[in-house]
């Protein structure tokens, strides 16, 4: 994925950019910057939710781990994209139908892996914020998307949860997938991370 002078403006006001970076297969991109610097907006541009207002973005999706019918992009945003009135299991089943999922990882296995064994049938409303985040991570773990976009993936998690995120990211990179995440700068990231710092909003 190559971004050249990428930027986004809303009603004439620049939200971020221009930024330039290259993200290769197996690479990790960390997007840093102060609050309001446009980190989330950049992620949304990378996800294809927003069209860039300047510069170019070229994404080449390798076929690594990718099967026809499954989504190319996996997004874990500020909001988990889960329904609080449904159980963890129902939420994951729905996401599987929507995005496709790794067959070897069953729903219950993925939930056990993120430490939610025994909570499969409870409505998410009854779980804590950190536990809901873990359900979103279980969905991510089952994803076969080439590009992972994670908005502050370490927020709201305990030490064990944070190391879980690191493990998931490492596994995705090992498969040859790409990961882009936003960070406040306090998170521990591998040494080979590509950094991209956004300036303060003007």
């Amino acid at each position: 994925m190559t971004a050249r002078d990428l930027g986004f403006a809303r009603t004439g006001e620049t939200i971020f950019g221009p930024v330039t970076f290259v993200l290769r297969a197996g690479g990790l991109l960390a997007i840093g910057g102060a609050n309001g610097a446009g980190k989330t907006t950049l992620l949304h541009v990378l996800a294809g939710l927003l069209a860039p207002s300047m510069g170019t973005l070229a994404t080449e999706f390798g076929e690594v781990g990718h099967a026809p019918g499954s989504s190319r992009v996996a997004l874990v945003g500020h909001h988990n994209g889960l329904k609080l009135d449904l159980s963890a299991r129902a939420n994951l089943r729905f996401r599987e139908a929507l995005h496709g999922a790794e067959e070897s990882q069953t729903v219950d296995k993925a939930l056990a892996h993120v430490g939610l064994a025994g909570y499969e049938s409870l409505a998410l409303r009854e779980l804590s914020a950190g536990q809901r985040r873990r359900v979103a991570l279980a969905a991510l773990a089952r994803s076969r998307a080439t590009l992972w976009l994670l908005d502050e993936p370490f927020a709201n998690l305990d030490a064990e949860g944070r190391s879980l995120v690191s493990t998931l990211i490492a596994a995705q990179r090992e498969r040859g997938g790409m990961v882009a995440l936003t960070t406040h700068g306090a998170d521990v990231l591998p040494a080979d991370t590509t950094h991209c710092r956004l300036g303060a909003a003007t």
């Binding site: 996800a47 019918g69 997004l75 909001h79 009135d85 139908a97 995005h99």
Partner: protein, 226 residues
Amino acid sequence: MTGTPVGAAAALFRRDLQLAVRRPDDALQPLLFAVIVAALFPFALGADATRLAPIAGGVAWVVALLSLLIGLDAVYRGDEEDGSLDQLLVSGQPLALLCAARMLAHWLVVGLPLVLVAPVLARLLGMPPNAWPVAIASLSLGTGVLVAIGHVCAALAVAAKRSVILVPLLVLPLAVPVLIFGAGAVQATLSGLSPTVPLLMLAAGLALAIPLAPLACAAALRLNAG
């Protein structure tokens, strides 16, 4: 398992029905509103059938239209607020198909019950029984068109801060033709005329809405993404 377009749409349809079962209040509120309003008319105008019967068709249709507006603004706002909408958008599945699945689920949850209680509304409003089948037929077709229009407007207003006010304002002008033909079909029957033409107009509206509304809905959601 891979996420096929039809499988994804079916899963979304199932999800919306499951959510309606988990939150029955949201589904029952429009129905309760319709029955209460229809029950109040005889008290306000007197139970004299000669006064109520001539306006029964129009009143039943206004009641149905207004009750469908309840909660309409939240159709896509809920998905927007919890991030589900972003998941639908990045999935790469045909968004129009997903929108169509949501419309069908919404009609089953809100529209169909309204059609089923139509005889109750008709009885409360003193509508002569010979007009009941036409009232039910016009409501079946009309509620479908109204749900389709409503979803497009809700999708357009999903990012708006005051969508509670905005959505009804967007829907009402588009809903007026549906109201005219729907109430017109019942009135025609009551005056001894054939309701065929207004019913056919409603059917034409539905035939137009079924392919076009999901496309418009998908375009509106993409416009508001991010």
